[in-house]
Symmetry: C2
Subunit: 461 residues, 2 copies
C-alpha cells in the first residue's frame, strides 16, 4: 500500500513538474526582463523574481511570473507608484499590457505566452519596516529559499495540485482558500505531502501552526488570530497566513484529506473538468427544484476580488431578509465571468409560502401590551383569539412569493462602489434567460450544475 | 355612566333571577323528595339540598337539583355506595332515571321537568374527615349560607351569567372553566359583580385569593398550588378551587372583563346562540383553509369528562408528532356529542410540505461523528456537501402529506380505557364526511364555525 502510494505520487510529480524546456524558456524570459529593467534609469535598486516559479515549486503549464522591482524605503508613495508603473510600461513597450490594482497600481503584460506582473515594492529587511502590502513577498521568498529542500519542492507541487483538484487553492475571495505561500509553509512544517495530508485529516477547529515558535504559548496565537486555522507567518508574527481560508474551505480540505487517505486516487490531482449537465437535465432540475436567479451586470473595470466580496455580502444580506420574511433558503451561490454578468442563485424550500401569517401577541395578563397589540393591528384575517393565554391574530403577508419579494427587496438594498453602479439593473431572471448563458459559457454551466447537484465531487473519486 | 351600569345590571338580574313560581315549584318538589327519602328505611341520617339552587344563587330556567343523602362516617364504602343507589332508585320509582358515576355511583332522574341527582355522601364536620370527594359539598353549602348576603346572591347570578356568556363557566374538562363554587367565592371576596370584574381585569399570572387567610404568607399558597389562579378553598386549605381553570380560560376571562369595562353590554350575559355558517360558507372555508378532521366513535357508556381529557391529550400528542415531522399546526380543537362521535380538528399552515428534508450533520473537525454520519445515511437525494463547515445532506421525507401522516400515526397512538375501545376506528375524514353531521348537529356546526372563524366572540359585543 505504502509502496503503491509512493509510486502513484512520484508518477504524479513527473506529470505536474514543469519540463526542462519550460523552465529554460522561463529562465530566458526572466533574464530578458531583468536586463530590460536594469537598463531603465530610475531609483529602483533591485529586481527580483518572486512567487512559486522563482522558488521552483510551481506546476507545469503555470505561465504566471511575478517580477518585483524594489525601491528604497525612503521613497515617497506617490513617486513609488508612478515609477512602478513607468517601469512596467517600459518593459511591455510594443506588447500587450494593462494597468492593474491590488493595494497599489502595477502593470500586467504578456510576453512569449507568459503573463508577467511587474510589481513595485519597497526593499525592507523585515516585516516591521513594511510600507506596502506586497513588501513581504521578497521576505517570504528569502525565508523559503533558505529552508526548502529539493524534495520538498516536489511535495509542495503535490499539495498545490491536490488543493487545486479539490477547488481549495488560492487566497482570492472567490474561493476563500489556501494561499500559495501557506501551501509552501505547510510542507516546510509537515515535511512532506503525505505528512501534511495525514495531519490535516486530524485538524481541529482552532488549529495552530507556528513554525518559528513566535508564540511560546500556542494559545496566545489562537487568542490573537481567533481563526479555525492559525498559520503564523514565520516572517511576521502578527500575520495569519491562512486568514483568508473560510471555515468551509478549511473543513472541505480536512474532509478531502480523509477521503484521500481512505481511497488514494489520481483524480484528486487531475479531476475531470466539471462539465455542465445537458440542457435537458438542467431544464428538468429547474422544474423539480425551487430556484431563483438574480442577474446583475458586472460593473465596468471593477476588481474581481472586491466584486466577489460584495456579491457574497449581497447574498448574505438577501438571505437574512428572506429568512425574516419566512422564506427558507436551502442553498445559495454566486458566480461572475468578471466581465459582463454577476449571478446570485438561491434554492428555496418553497417559492411560495402561506399567504397568511400568525402573529403571537402578548400574554393577556400583560394588560398594557395586550391593549397596544389589539389596537395596533389592522386588516386582520382571523382572530384576535386567545391561545395559550396570549392574543393571537392572523394577517395577510405582504409577500408570499419569493420572486416578488426578491424583486422588491433588491431595489432597497444599498451597496458600495463598484456594485452600486449596476445594482439598479439587477433582475430576477427565469430559466429561459439563463439557458443562453448556460450554452455559451461553460464556466457558468459548471457553476449551475454544481449548484443544482450540491455534492462534494471528491466523494466520488 | 355608573348609573347606566347599575340600571343595566339590575335589569339583567330581573331577567336571570328565577321567578317566584319557579322557586315555589322547586321548593314543593324538594319537600316531596325529602319526604320520600326520610320515609325510606336505612342508615342515612340526613338529607340536604345542595348546589346553587339551594343557596338561591341559581339562574332562572336552571332545572338541576342536587340532593345529598348523608351517611354516618363509619359506614363501609361498599355499603355506602349500595345504599346510595338504593335510595336513588326508590325515589325515582316509576320515573325516568339512570345510574351515573363520578367518584362513586349515584342516581340521576327526572321529575316535574327537573333533573335531580341523588348523591350519597358521608356526613363530616370538616375537610380533614372527608372520605369521598363529594363530602365537601355540604361543607361548602354551610360556609356560603352563613356568609352570603341577599344582595350578593344576585351578584353571583350576574357573574354566573357573564361567565356562561363568554363560555367560561363550569369545571368540566370540556371547558376547563370557572366552577360554580368558585363563582360564589369570588363574589364573597370582591363583594359584588362589578368589584369582581374590575379586579379580574387586572389579574396577574399567579393571582392568589385566600378568603380565610389560611396562609399568612400568600407566596406560600402560590408555591403550593403553582397555578395561574390560586383560589384557596375556605373549607380546605389544601385545595385550589380554581385548579381546573386552564390558563387560556383564565386569560379569556381577564380579556372579557376588560372588554366589558370598556364597552358594557347585555350581550355578555345573553349572547346570541352561536349559529353555524351556511353550508356554502363552510365549503368555501374548507377550500381556503388547510383543514384535517379526525373522527373517532364515542366509546359506549364512557364518562364525558374522562373522554374530554383523553381527546385533549390525543390532540396534544398528535401535535407534538406533527411538529417533529415539520407539519405546522396553526390551530386545533376537539368536540364530541358525548354519544356517537368525537372530532379532532387541525388547521395546518400547509397540508403538503417539502418532499425533501435537509439534514445537518456534524462539524467536519469532529472526525468520529462525521464518519458515522457519512456511513449511516442511505438514499440521499442531494449531497453530502459541506456547508458552513458541516456535512449536509438531503433525504426524501417518509411523509410530506399531513393527511397520510395523520392516517399512519393514529394507528400507532396508544390510549387508555375507554378511548382505546374505539381509537382503532379513527378516520381522517374529508369535507364531504363532515357536512352531513354539520347539517344535523347544530352544536357541531357551531364548533366547526368557531374553529374556522377563530375569533373571540366577545370582542364584537
Amino acid at each position: 500500500m505504502v509502496k503503491n502510494m509512493e509510486a502513484m505520487l512520484s508518477k504524479i510529480v513527473k506529470r505536474i513538474k514543469p519540463s526542462k524546456t519550460e523552465k529554460e524558456a522561463e529562465k530566458k524570459l526572466i533574464d530578458k526582463i531583468f536586463g530590460k529593467i536594469k537598463k531603465i534609469e530610475g531609483k529602483h535598486i533591485e529586481v527580483m523574481h518572486c512567487g512559486s516559479s522563482a522558488r521552483d515549486t510551481d506546476i507545469g503549464g503555470d505561465k504566471d511570473l511575478d517580477i518585483f522591482v524594489l525601491f528604497p524605503k525612503k521613497m515617497k508613495r506617490a513617486e513609488f507608484e508612478k515609477e512602478g508603473l513607468r517601469i512596467g510600461r517600459t518593459v511591455f513597450k510594443g506588447k500587450k499590457w494593462e494597468e492593474c490594482y491590488s493595494e497599489h497600481p502595477y502593470v500586467r503584460g504578456q510576453m512569449d505566452n507568459f503573463v508577467i506582473e511587474i510589481v513595485p515594492s519597497y526593499k525592507v529587511e523585515d516585516a516591521s519596516a513594511m510600507q506596502s502590502a506586497v513588501d513581504r513577498s521578497p521576505l517570504h521568498q528569502k525565508y523559503l529559499l533558505e529552508r526548502l529542500t529539493e524534495k520538498q519542492k516536489d511535495e509542495i507541487r503535490l499539495l498545490r495540485a491536490f488543493l487545486k483538484g479539490i477547488d481549495c487553492y488560492g487566497a482570492k475571495l472567490k474561493v476563500n482558500s489556501m494561499p500559495g505561500y501557506a501551501v509552501e509553509l505547510l510542507i516546510l512544517y509537515y515535511g512532506s505531502f503525505m505528512g501534511c495530508i495525514k495531519a490535516a485529516a486530524n485538524w481541529k477547529n482552532g488549529e495552530i501552526i507556528d513554525i518559528e515558535k513566535h508564540y511560546s504559548d500556542p494559545s496566545e496565537a489562537k487568542k490573537k488570530f481567533n481563526h479555525h486555522l492559525n498559520l503564523v507567518d514565520p516572517t511576521d508574527k502578527n500575520r495569519n497566513v491562512a486568514a483568508a481560508v473560510s471555515y468551509n474551505q478549511f473543513a472541505r480540505f480536512i474532509a478531502a484529506c480523509r477521503k484521500f487517505l481512505e481511497k488514494p486516487n489520481e483524480r484528486f490531482f487531475f479531476p475531470e473538468k466539471k462539465k455542465g449537465w445537458p440542457i435537458s437535465k438542467i431544464k428538468k432540475m429547474f422544474k423539480e427544484k425551487e430556484i431563483l436567479i438574480l442577474k446583475i451586470p458586472y460593473p465596468k473595470n471593477a476588481i474581481s476580488d472586491v466584486v466577489y466580496g460584495q456579491i457574497k455580502n449581497l447574498t448574505k444580506k438577501m438571505k437574512t431578509r428572506l429568512k425574516l420574511n419566512d422564506f427558507i433558503v436551502k442553498s445559495s451561490g454566486e458566480w461572475t465571468d468578471e466581465k459582463s454578468i454577476i449571478v446570485n442563485a438561491f434554492e428555496f424550500e418553497s417559492l411560495e409560502i402561506e399567504r397568511v401569517k400568525k402573529h403571537l401577541g402578548p400574554e393577556i395578563a400583560d394588560a398594557k401590551n395586550a391593549a397596544i397589540f389589539l389596537k395596533s393591528h389592522k386588516k386582520i384575517i382571523s382572530g384576535p383569539i386567545i391561545e395559550n393565554g396570549r392574543w393571537v391574530i392572523e394577517k395577510e403577508r405582504k409577500f408570499w412569493n419569493a420572486k416578488e419579494f426578491l424583486k422588491a427587496e433588491i431595489k432597497k438594498i444599498v451597496v458600495k462602489d463598484p456594485l452600486n453602479k449596476t445594482i439598479k439593473k439587477a433582475r430576477v431572471v427565469e430559466e429561459k434567460d439563463i439557458l443562453p448563458i448556460y450554452k455559451k459559457d461553460c464556466e457558468f454551466a459548471s457553476f449551475i450544475t454544481a449548484f443544482l447537484k450540491n455534492r462534494e465531487d471528491f466523494l466520488d473519486w
